[in-house]
């Protein structure tokens, strides 16, 4: 049975953990806000379920709790940020803020980041642009779990892309997607239920179709969006590759199969071609293209028209990207956030280890 916690109690516990790691109060606040936004928005795999994973990376000195995050290269519309091995949860908002400042000056801002770590949900960072009447973009590379089309080798992470677009009366358009058919978190849910994966999500170590939700532990791989060549997996592969290159080749991060692994027990790859993970952020001022009110009026029209597209028989509505997450957020802010038992146990053990009082 899931247990339900308030946003405030999860927030307080998580912030106490980051403070124990040695983060400054400002950084712990930022990291907590980003991390718990995943639980709020229903992306449970990227929230507090990962908290002890971050702590383990800090314990083996792969995460620096007091980083000196710096801009190392820039032009009027671009920058490269070195995250100094800091929490991605802190480095990413720093970098996105620079993209926003550049957009204020010259219309758009684009920031590639090296020497960083897992940044939580991409959507959070993209959405930072919204209050400035800007379109926001965020992407990151990640540990290699995905085989390119025609390959059996894990070469890419699930490399998400998020794009947030402001509207007027309507809530914003917020797409946040792994470039694989299914995110790794979806597989983890099936593992806990001992259930099979749909065909098209994973392959075994010889490249055969598989429904084994545990296949990644047996040298299998996740499949790029599209699943197989006939259904466009070469497109998912290309999208994941673009994210990898923008995030890590542009910045000087470690790319492809050399991306640093999230689990602290997995050894770092040999001969890494760059420093740490990479992210990429973009901000585009809407009024760098047309008057903001014109744009938001047409976005309202776009959203309304698509929301009213004819649903297939038996289905009641067509969704706009961001609808499900926003509905989760409203519901969970009000009624609390359900956490699965194994994560509760993991967090309790983490609290005990660090001497942080548990919530109940």
């Amino acid at each position: 049975m899931d247990q339900v916690y308030t946003y405030e109690s999860l927030y307080a516990f998580t912030k106490a953990v980051f403070l124990k790691m040695g983060c400054s109060d400002v950084d712990a606040t930022t990291a907590t806000t980003v991390l718990v936004s995943a639980d709020l928005r229903g992306i449970d795999s990227h929230g507090v379920a990962r908290l002890s994973g971050y702590v383990r990376l800090w314990e083996v000195n792969r995460i620096n709790a007091t980083p000196n995050i710096q801009v190392v290269h820039e032009t009027p519309s671009t920058a490269v940020v070195d995250g100094d091995a800091g929490l991605g949860l802190v480095v990413a908002p720093f970098a996105m803020q620079i993209a926003i400042e550049k957009a204020k000056q010259v219309g758009t801002g684009w920031v590639s980041v090296r020497n960083t770590n897992h940044f939580g949900i991409a959507g959070y960072h993209a959405m930072m642009a919204l209050e400035h009447q800007m379109i926001g973009m965020a992407m990151t590379n990640a540990s290699a779990l995905v085989a390119p089309t025609f390959s059996i080798e894990r070469m890419l992470g699930t490399n998400p892309i998020a794009v947030a677009i402001p509207a007027g009366e309507q809530p914003p358009f917020v797409a946040d997607m792994a470039t694989t058919t299914a995110a790794n978190g979806k597989l983890e849910i099936l593992q806990r239920k001992n259930a099979a994966a749909p065909l098209g999500w994973v392959q075994d170590k010889e490249g055969h179709a598989s429904t084994d939700a545990n296949i990644l532990k047996k040298e299998g791989a996740l499949l790029p969006l599209g699943s197989d060549r006939e259904h466009g997996s070469h497109k998912g592969y290309a999208l994941g590759a673009i994210v990898d290159i923008f995030s890590a080749v542009l910045s000087g991060g470690s790319y492809g199969p050399w991306a640093p692994p999230f689990p602290a027990y997995v050894p770092m790859p040999e001969n890494m071609p760059g420093k740490g993970l990479g992210h990429f952020f973009g901000a585009m001022r809407v009024d760098a293209f047309r008057p903001a009110e014109e744009f938001t009026t047409h976005m309202d029209n776009w959203i309304t028209r698509f929301r009213n597209a004819k649903p297939a028989p038996g289905l009641d509505r067509v969704l706009i990207p961001g609808d499900p997450e926003r509905e989760y957020e409203q519901e969970r802010m009000e009624k609390g956030i359900p956490i699965v038992a194994s994560v509760v146990d993991d967090l309790k053990a983490l609290g005990e280890k660090l001497g942080i009082a548990w919530m109940d």
Copy 2:
């Protein structure tokens, strides 16, 4: 049987057609270069097979052969271009060139275009950036043929995204993909062969899975990349939507189900919210992020590593995006370009109508 023509002869015939339409010599040269690059690169659906379609649009005054293409809004890193209903084949390189000039000045350039038409292959425009040591991007909206996830209504075009990334010794990385499981051109090939489509490419008018390659003529729809919800079609839908918004909502073009149709016999949509189709282009100077030689060296390393990824048993190699098209280009430049009989007939009729001598 296909007939084989040299690049030069297809080029000469095509240019003569554009000149007859009233294009200036410069514009006819540009339009021809872009159009025939599709045939060269093996994307037969977007090359001379569409030539008579452009002529029909010109005949009904939907294409202006002597447009006054203008920048109507700009900031240091952005611009909006009004294509004055010109050929997309001419408007797009104009706009991409502006993106490149802006990138020279401030690191990146981003141009959204309204009041334009079909622009040929997205990859051509993205690749314009390569010789400047820039990353190029190109996208466009198109006539609505694609149903969003959970819908039976055609709301989006096949809305392609192209990204071209320069390397050093290696050939560049060039992704050019429709945001659907299969491009419309793939369906047309099956129609000519009277063959069935794989499940997951299209649905019928009630939203059921279909293998009928002619289903678009029966109110069916193409499916977003991912095919169905379980396999991530909501991601393909979001990608197609982002292309639509960047191309047409940012610029003041006509978006979603109101995008103007390519077939000249299809009436224009009522209550269009903007002018013409929309495109979106980007150029990012590589050395706006890190020294160009560092970047291209790492791109060579990226490409080499991925090309050497372990292939699945029975397959001989893993491809880099752009490999197949480059191989087509080399082969066809040398041995000629095969054109299917129905397209040859169509072009012959077009030549007769316009008084242009045929090639053989």
